[in-house]
């Protein structure tokens, strides 16, 4: 299991990393390095010297707040997982040719893989995907994805990452989760086999509240 660095988005990268590493240390929880924190030239060495396991996501960079991910239809980062580009922008041609393409994330309307039809096609084509339950919830709430597609996605074998946060169905607001948050039960079950990433904003949560978030996913809550 991982917590996303974006749980403390906007904070200085080293401070955020250390805070989250401390939070998950006892549970062996790693950190998914995500874009949006204040860069620090010492950050790469800091992460390298840490025993905490890491993964990289989307436009993460050690030296800038965020880096470009797509350019002229090609992915320009070497992160383990990325978002597809905005709706209508090219990416499939590059993706299908790539020797080891990144895990591609299911999004919400406005992005590629932002509708049920596109998700269906991705599954038919056997793409390796990351499923963000909050993105799926937005698709369902907006009527962009059917219940049948969501059920097929839940059973899809080529899911390589599961991302978890809550929202009200309209915007991807990365709110803290509850046991009955949409998709959490499935995420916990599926996340036992693939990297499970908690990515709710924790800025205002106390240490106990943050631990309670982890406990919901580890099943100890």
């Amino acid at each position: 299991m991982f917590v996303a660095l974006s749980c403390l988005q906007g904070r200085p990268s080293i401070a955020a990393f250390d805070e989250l590493a401390t939070l998950g240390r006892d549970l062996g929880i790693g950190i998914q390095l995500t874009p949006g924190n204040l860069p620090d030239p010492r950050f790469a060495a800091h992460v390298a010297g840490s025993p905490t396991a890491t993964r990289r996501h989307h436009g993460f960079s050690y030296v800038t707040r965020v880096q470009q991910v797509w350019s002229e239809g090609a992915c320009t980062t070497d992160a383990e997982s990325v978002h597809p580009p905005k709706a209508g922008e090219p990416w499939r041609a590059w993706f299908e040719r790539a020797a080891s393409p990144p895990i591609i994330e299911v999004m919400y309307p406005g992005y590629e893989l932002g509708t049920g039809d596109e998700v269906e096609r991705a599954m038919t084509d056997g793409l390796v995907v990351a499923v963000d339950i909050s993105h799926a919830f937005i698709q369902l709430t907006a009527g962009a994805m059917t219940g049948a597609t969501w059920r097929r996605l839940q059973a899809y074998e080529r899911i390589a990452e599961v991302h978890v946060s809550a929202n009200r169905g309209q915007f991807d607001t990365h709110q803290p989760i509850a046991r009955d948050t949409f998709g959490v039960a499935w995420a916990r079950e599926r996340g036992a086999h693939v990297p499970l990433v908690l990515e709710c904003y924790m800025h205002r949560l106390s240490d106990a509240q943050r631990r309670a978030q982890l406990a919901i996913l580890t099943g100890s809550a």
Partner: protein
């Protein structure tokens, strides 16, 4: 910061246009908000509010472009925003110079709170960052600190060389006299002469300040980082204020005690401390008059000083009963007139603190309490302080002080606002006042609030007149 200066210049020009088109408008706030996305484009958004008062009423609550039958909102006369008064900015109706996905992030991210969300309104997401006020034919523009996220603008020390004055023993002796009597010009004149003779740059700055020359403001603005160095690693330069050549009013976030005892801090009269800042409180800070909120570490340094402080207003964030003991026992606060207590405490602790009579000169006790005023207002007489003020502690979505009700001699009751927070609406104040038994309540101005006749009318009720 150059980008912020550019944005403030643009804001001034926009304010000038609004003042010209809306002659009754006297002040304009530039409020900012940021809510993150996992794309991390992290746009910083603007929200303009104009007012016929000297400070716009905050939060600005209006019907906007929609009317919600379930949650009707009454627009406040004389308060305008780009939602409820679309004509405010003229065509095209938005700030053309505001680049929310670019420079605006660099310029104003530090002024945004961390709880913004696309699910919320501007009134909740935004906080005032700058204000423009009409002063006759001129416009004053001021940044509104303290910042929300000091760590986003304190990236360590600049490369500016430290002022040579800080290494000159005789200059430091003369400077000590400046700090001992910050209101007087005499010691500054002596120091200015000394520095000018040795061609030290601050001598010229002091000379212009003491002469009332407009060059002073130019010199200060042009080299502000240089005057501040090396304290720019713990003091946000943009909200730092100087008085006649030296730092006087600052906010601070220190990660360690490295700068404790730096002479540049000795002239500071008002020091706002960000939460979790390391203590740099040092006996050399002889000019200090207002300090806080301080935590235990700062308080330990305060009570360990070898001589009394000149502190008149002290804001203490209590985390354990031992801090009350330290306050009770110290004899180092002979000038204390206003004590502000916040944090983890109970009524008994407050009573035992004030009843020690350590500070017979204490004029005002302010209690910052999320529970409200009802349990405190009756305690003024037993506590024996002339003024007992109860200030609402707000936390949703931003930690800030809200409405303050002060109870004084002869059944006096005064109300003002002590911070910008979405929770401190007029409706919230109305609820507070409903349980106040006083027959008359006076609205008073503060840095965050300018009373109006409309507020008084809105808040008055049977048996209680608000003026």
């Amino acid at each position: 910061m150059e980008i912020r200066d550019t944005y403030l210049a643009q804001f001034r020009a926009t304010a000038q246009d609004i003042f010209a088109k809306h002659p009754r408008v006297r002040s304009i706030v530039l409020a900012v908000s940021q809510y993150w996305a996992d794309e991390a484009n992290d746009a910083v958004h603007d929200f303009i509010v104009a007012s016929e008062r000297d400070t716009p009423l905050w939060p600005h609550v209006c019907n906007g472009r929609w009317y919600d039958d379930d949650n009707p909102v009454v627009d406040v006369p004389g308060e305008l925003c780009t939602r409820c008064a679309e004509e405010l900015l003229g065509e095209p109706g938005y700030l053309q110079w505001w680049y929310d996905n670019g420079d605006a992030i660099t310029a104003f991210e530090a002024f945004c709170h961390e709880s913004g969300s696309q699910d919320q309104t501007d009134a909740i997401n935004s906080l005032p960052a700058a204000i423009a006020r009409k002063r006759g034919d001129t416009i004053d523009v001021e940044l509104l600190g303290p910042v929300q996220r000091p760590h986003s603008i304190l990236h360590g020390e600049s490369d500016e060389p430290a002022d040579r004055m800080w290494f000159d023993t005789r200059a430091l002796e003369l400077y000590d006299q400046v700090c001992a009597s910050p209101a007087e010009d005499g010691p500054r004149r002596v120091l200015a002469d000394y520095l000018l003779e040795r061609e030290m740059p601050r001598g010229e700055l002091l000379a212009h300040a003491l002469a009332g020359s407009p060059t002073y403001a130019e010199l200060l603005a042009r080299n502000k980082l240089e005057w501040l160095a090396p304290l720019d690693g713990i003091v946000p330069v943009d909200t730092a204020r100087f008085d006649r050549g030296f730092l006087s009013d600052i906010e601070m976030f220190a990660v360690d005690r490295e700068h404790r005892g730096h002479p540049g801090l000795a002239s500071v009269e008002r020091l706002y401390i960000h939460a979790r800042s390391a203590s740099v409180l040092d006996p050399s800070m002889r000019a200090l008059r207002e300090l806080g909120p301080i935590n235990r570490t700062w308080l330990e340094d305060l009570v360990a000083a070898p001589r009394p402080w000149a502190i008149e207003t002290l804001d203490v964030d209590i985390s354990d009963p031992g801090m009350f003991s330290m306050l009770r026992e110290t004899e180092l606060l002979p000038a204390l007139r206003h004590l502000i207590v916040r944090g983890d405490f109970n009524e008994q602790s407050i009573t035992s603190l004030v009843r020690t009579r350590r500070w017979p000169q204490l004029d005002r006790l302010t209690i910052v309490d999320s529970l409200g005023h009802a349990s405190w207002q009756a305690r003024r007489a037993p506590l024996g302080v002339p003024w007992l003020a109860i200030r609402m502690a707000c936390s949703d979505p931003v930690r800030a002080d809200g409405w303050e009700l002060a109870f004084g001699p002869n059944s006096a009751c005064e109300v003002t606002l002590r911070g910008f927070t979405p929770e401190a609406t007029r409706e919230a104040l109305q609820k507070l006042l409903a349980s106040v038994p006083m027959r008359t309540v006076k609205l008073v101005a503060s840095r965050y609030y300018a009373p109006s006749a409309d507020d008084a009318a809105f808040l008055s009720r049977d048996g209680q007149v608000v003026t």
